[in-house]
Symmetry: C3
């Protein structure tokens, strides 16, 4: 019979042994666990980028324990927590906004507990590596069936730290949204789906001409407007042709067929943009 | 008892959660499967490079299900397929030439089927991520014992798409071959083995002096000839000394001991070269 | 029941299929083994860096078989070996100094054997890829319970190759140490712990002002002295502020909060440094 699933998402990178130290701790406690690497390439300390990764991938994963560590505040006062989702998953990590978007995509949080019990931490907890010393042992003990209540007091859900990510806004003929994540190919994922796009622009169909405008920090247009067409898939556009499409995570993507839209247009996570129809 | 083996080879990279989404889908269907990452660093959209990776590694892997996705045509008309090999493996991926060289190295293809049955795809199939929505579920269902015939109609083997890779050619004292793959150390693997080299140059022994000439696209010599010696292993050459040897995948390699031959000589996959003896 | 653990540490990188070939060989022999990637990003041919990775991670791993390959001398006379530790682990790899520091951190070596028996190698051993042809099959057979003695003659422990790494030295108010490893964040790990630091400088407390001096190869001070403060964790320092702390592997680290100390100060593995109190 298959062992319990523990997924891992971090900004540790793969060159030093940090990820392996976490897995070693997990397997010393829960030797039967099946370990699934989500990504260890989250940009360093970028909590919003880590949250976007979890948001995107969690619906594809089995119900399980999902440990995530993007934790610039390690060793300071931020709380180590476990969230229980409607679906039955447990999300383990720091209370800094990293876990909530993914938990909400799985139906929402039904309970949160602090990870405080010494019995479920390593004997010595360093000030600098809670991934190995607190989160990995917690994930393993949860996989072994220890109930959330055993780890520490229940946390009022309204006190959980939330990311300050602007929601997409629609007005007469204009969608305003924020760049969420960039994939390995340089495709740019917006924090908006087809519902928001059609709320702003009306029903959209393959071939429709659109204009994308990156917006400066102050709300001024900084760069030129980019003309592109709505496509059903990347390969429908000609080579090197810009396009927008619904990506595989149900979000609007801006892409260049066989090229990098992120590099060409300088689009980075957090950048606001506007989309309208080409008049 | 060990679960069935599923290997994964893609050009997805490891920074975004695409690989994890595929693995999550697999484990939701086949929780006992043992997952083996071959490489997710195939150069983006380079079908021939992905095929070279499979060619090299498959003989070292157990009989199993081998899923490979290097798929610039995702969402267009190219067929999703499963190939059955003489050895009993299943190769799952797009019908674009990616799978055939590896399948032939395992003894050849005995049957091919299209992956069409809705029952063995995700409920919603995106236009942009068939790795997660078609290939991963197919690989998992095959690992669970679903027969190839259940996925769709049998495909005439003569209609499978083949890569257009030139075979090595031998003439009086000259081997003409193509650069296949570059490894992490910058060693350059030629699409030729010892049999082809000795057919052109006669019996070869450690220390024999050779000349390698990169050839321009039009067949003209573009760069200077490179003098090097035949060696039994990389460490036999002095530091920074160029050499040729039989690599660990039974192909001729051009290398620089503790250096990168690919970088120094500008050798990239697809580049034609000639080798002759130093007169 | 969980299968035996085999960890893998190499300088192969993840782009070519070398790591996968080793894992494939292992699973053909020991299909139940649980495989744990420590790192495949050890800098190429840097034996000391690989040894530092093993030193850091092995105490976090379960007792098991630990295969490590950083092997510039592959195919030459260096011996393939297995070390047995006090804790019961087996360390498998080349006799070039890579394995000893990690084995000693696990309590020390109780026996060493050469890996010579043809029965426990692949049928054909290449000159260039002993990871796949000698070390992976040895690791798998050991995981299956084959005793060390079956692989080849016992080796006199005094003949094992040792790295030439200088120990930390303390004198009146000065700690002299060597840079060991750099992690993914650019934090610089010194080959010295809190005991050595306090032996040189007396009891140390959060906020204490220190001076770090990189030392040139000839023992002359080459770069300017760096002022920093002792901290209990990275996040205690202001953004972009240099600090020293005890890292999560019980060694002194030099870091910049949210920056790279390795890049800013040009600190690389092997570089000697001095630390004293700021007068």
């Amino acid at each position: 019979m298959a062992g319990p699933l523990i997924s891992l998402t971090t900004d540790f990178g793969l060159n030093d042994p940090s990820v392996a130290a976490c897995k070693g701790v997990i397997w010393r406690i829960a030797p039967d666990a099946r370990l699934l690497d989500v990504s260890h390439g989250v940009p360093r300390h970028e909590i919003a980028a880590g949250a976007a990764v979890l948001w995107a991938v969690l619906p594809s994963l089995p119900v399980g324990v999902h440990m995530a560590v993007v934790d610039p505040g390690v060793g300071t006062a931020r709380r180590p927590i476990v969230l229980r989702t409607v679906r039955g998953d447990r999300l383990v990590g720091p209370d800094n906004g990293l876990l909530l978007p993914g938990a909400e995509r799985l139906g929402g949080v039904v309970a949160a507990h602090a990870l405080e019990a010494q019995a479920y931490r390593l004997a010595t907890v360093s000030r600098t590596f809670h991934g190995r010393d607190i989160f990995a042992p917690a994930a393993a003990h949860i996989a072994n069936g220890i109930p959330d209540e055993a780890f520490g007091p229940e946390i009022d859900l309204s006190t959980l730290v939330r990311l300050d990510t602007p929601a997409a806004r629609t007005s007469a003929g204009v969608l305003e949204a924020t760049v969420g994540a960039i994939d390995s190919f340089g495709n740019v994922q917006l924090l908006a789906g087809i519902a928001e796009l059609e709320a702003a622009l009306g029903p959209i169909a393959g071939g429709d001409a659109l204009v994308l405008e990156p917006v400066g920090a102050g709300g001024t247009e900084r760069d030129g407007a980019i003309g592109l067409r709505w496509r059903l898939t990347y390969g429908e556009a000609g080579a090197d042709e810009p396009l927008a499409c619904l990506d595989s995570y149900e979000r609007i993507a801006v892409a260049i067929n066989r090229g990098s839209a992120a590099d060409r247009y300088g689009l980075r996570p957090g950048r606001p943009i506007r989309i309208r129809r080409d008049a």
